[in-house]
Structure formats: structure tokens, C-alpha cells
Symmetry: C2
Subunit: 216 residues, 2 copies
DNA sequence: CAACTACCTGACCACGAAGTCAACAAGTTA
DNA sequence: TAACTTGTTGACTTCGTGGTCAGGTAGTTG
């Protein structure tokens, strides 16, 4: 038993080494980029936190920019995936409630990714612009259409789907972006599970009522 | 006429020179910091855009950090000022509507300041933490109290004042922070006045209805 | 086990950015 | 106008950072 484990640890296959190191570097890089932004993050600091020499980072990722883009590329997927679930057949009561919950969870569980995404947008999305214009836009238009159908079915009041989505995005996203501010104002070290839950519940209530969606 | 103007231009008093240059530098710096963040902004680039030699910037602001803090110090004030207007005597219908409108206007008219503020929070508020813990927190608590009194008077449903404020902040703030994303998704170069107005109206409607505040 | 490939890393380089400085110019004041 | 303060600037220094490279070691494969 012990032997097997030891040999596994000591003699790793090249493929494993590669996989592990890539993963490690990406994880650490995500943390640093979220905390300090692209320009505020040095390769050395990533190396240090990953316990690898700087050259090793550069061995796996030719440049800092390549590494950053790699980190980013996962993020948009995460960010978009929940939106697909909403369909015109569902009742907005369930669909929106569910979506808001997922979004808040994302802010909690993928806080770093969320913050990198936010920072990217804040500074003009230099690396993400193309993807926004294509992938996200398609999804956005389609989801707006879903909301329009809900309105047509009189399941909710006639309001701008675009601005409604912006409102849901920003208020859920805030639990990642401004979590620190919130916790400071509420006098705690950081937001706890209850805060995320209360937030989700409040946003859901306000959005549903606000859109004139019957609740029972 | 021409003479007077010329002499004014040619022979400026020291005090004026100082005031003008400080203002110019601060304005340009705000733009750059908003666009590229603290680390992404170089003194040279500020100098270039202000049409001044780099040394001249350093003459007025000893270090980059001093300059940045100076820019920041104005921002929190701007950010807080509108909150003070809400009082327990006002009806939330008017008070919240007014507040949301002001906040959206702020996102439009002080977009750079808003974005710097957001970026600062996103990265852990290294320079702003103290002020948050004191000034903003006091105002925050007091405004939460106002909302609690509205609830006591049954002018609105019982909901968490803290999370309600977070929601209003984030959804209005978004028109500055994520204005670019929004415009891309809506297929325009940038948000126009109508978008800001529609946004303000939608947020107001949803918040008022969502809080169970009678409208008429 | 030999030849090969993939992984690893310290030493090094080039560059750009923050900040200093000394000399000068322009306004101020007695 | 002389002495002084305030503003202006290019040349320079220092330092951190991204990125290269050559020479290694560890796994792989015939």
C-alpha cells in the first residue's frame, strides 16, 4: 500500500507532471490576478506562491499574457453557463429564482473568477472583447427573447429584458466584487453563508415582485 | 480686448499656475487610472496626455501613490453625498426614487470616479479601507436605520436594509462599471442618455414594487 | 542501456518606470 | 532692479520585471 503510493508520488509520469503543474499554476495565477489585477501581478509572485521557480512558470506558459488569457478563457464559460438554462417554457418564477441562486453561488464559489471578469470589463475588456461580441452576445439576445416571451404570455410585466438582466447580473455579481466592502460595512471579517443566502433571497423577492410575477 | 486676454494668458500668477496645473493633472490622472488601473498607469502616460514633462508631474505630486490617493480622496465624498439626503420622514417612494436617479447620474457623469472606486474595492481597497471603516460605515448604518423606520411605519415590506442598499448600489454602479459590456451586448458604441434613463426607471420600478412600496 | 524527449532551473539580459537632481526660467516683492 | 520664491525640465540613477538561454536532470521508448 504504502509502497504503491510512494512510487506513485516519486515516479510521476510526464503527462501527470504536466497536468498537475498546469493546474497548480492556473489556480495560483487566478488567485493573484483576482487580488492584484493583471499589471499588479508578477510572475515571480505566482512562482513563489506555487513553490516553483519563475523559469518553470515560463516553461509552461511562454508569456504572462498567455497565462492570463488561459485563466480568462475558463471564466467566460463559467459566467455564461447558467443563463442557458432559462427557457420560455419555464415559468419565470422558477427560472429567475433558480438563475439568481446560481449566480450568487458563483460569486461565492468562484469569487476569484468573478472578480477577474469584473476587472476585465472595468478596464475595457481588452482581452475579452471578441468573446463578448460573439458568444456572450448570442446568449444574451436569446435570453432577452425568452424574457420577451414571458412578457407576451403575461407571466410578468412588460419591462426591458436587457436592463433586467443587467440588474440581476450586477446585484448578484456584487457579492463577489464588493463582498469586501459589504463585510466591512457589516462589521465582519468576510461574508458568511447566511449573507449569501439572505442576499439571494432578497434579490429574488425584489426581482419577482418587481417584475409583477405572481409568487404564491 | 485681445490685449487683456493675451496678458492673462501670458502672465499668470504663481497661484493660478499652481491651481491650474494641479487641476489638469488630477483630471488626466483620473482618466488614466480609471482606464488602466493603478499599476497599469504610468506617470509618463499622464504627463504625455497632460502635455507636461514627467518631472513636472513629480514636482506637484511627490510620488505616484500620493497622486493616486489625492484622486481617490475626492471619490468617496462624491460616492457618499447622495445617501445623506434620505431621511425617515420622507416617504421611501420619493426618497428611493430620487436616490436611484442620483446614483445613475453619478455613473454617467462621474464614470471615471465610479470605476476607480470599483476597482479599488475589487482589489481589497488597500488605500480606502480606513475611510470605509469609518466615514462610509457611519453613513451606512444611519441609512439602514432610516430604512428600518420606514419598515416600522409599514411604508414598505420588512427586508434587510443592508442587502437592499447593496442591491441598489450595485445595480446603479453597474452603469459605470459595466457600461462597456452593456453597450457591446446592445450593439452600440456606448450607452446613451436613454439607456441611463431606462435603467434608472427600471431599477426604481423593480425596487419600489419589490419592496412593496405603494406607488401612485 | 542508449538515444531521445520532456521537464527543470539559475544566471543573465534588456527595458521601462519611478523617482532624483541640478541648473535654469519665470514670477514676486522689497 | 536685486534678492527671493516658485515653477520647469532633461539627464541621470535605481530597481523590478518579463523574458531568454544553456546546461542540467528525470522520465520514456526502442
Amino acid at each position: 500500500m504504502n509502497d504503491t503510493k510512494k512510487s506513485v508520488v516519486k515516479r510521476r509520469k510526464s503527462a501527470d507532471i504536466r497536468k498537475d503543474n498546469l493546474q497548480l499554476i492556473l489556480t495560483v495565477a487566478e488567485q493573484r490576478f483576482a487580488e492584484y489585477g493583471y499589471n499588479g501581478t508578477t510572475i515571480s509572485s505566482i512562482a513563489e506562491q506555487a513553490n516553483l521557480p519563475k523559469s518553470n512558470i515560463l516553461y509552461y506558459f511562454k508569456t504572462k499574457e498567455v497565462l492570463y488569457k488561459e485563466v480568462l478563457s475558463q471564466i467566460l464559460k463559467i459566467w455564461m453557463v447558467d443563463m442557458e438554462e432559462m427557457t420560455a417554457e419555464q415559468h419565470p418564477k422558477e427560472a429567475l429564482r433558480h438563475y439568481i441562486l446560481l449566480k450568487i453561488r458563483q460569486s461565492k464559489d468562484h469569487s476569484n473568477a468573478s472578480r477577474i471578469f469584473a476587472s476585465e470589463l472595468l478596464h475595457g475588456a481588452p482581452f475579452l472583447r471578441d468573446k463578448l461580441q460573439t458568444d456572450l452576445k448570442i446568449q444574451f439576445i436569446s435570453t432577452c427573447q425568452v424574457i420577451r416571451e414571458w412578457i407576451a404570455k403575461q407571466w410578468m410585466n412588460p419591462i426591458s429584458p436587457e436592463h433586467l438582466l443587467f440588474m440581476i447580473w450586477s446585484s448578484t455579481q456584487a457579492y463577489a466584487d464588493y463582498g469586501l466592502q459589504s463585510s466591512i460595512l457589516m462589521g465582519k471579517a468576510e461574508l458568511d453563508d447566511d449573507d449569501f443566502e439572505t442576499g439571494a433571497e432578497l434579490i429574488t423577492q425584489i426581482v419577482l415582485r418587481g417584475c409583477g410575477i405572481k409568487q404564491l
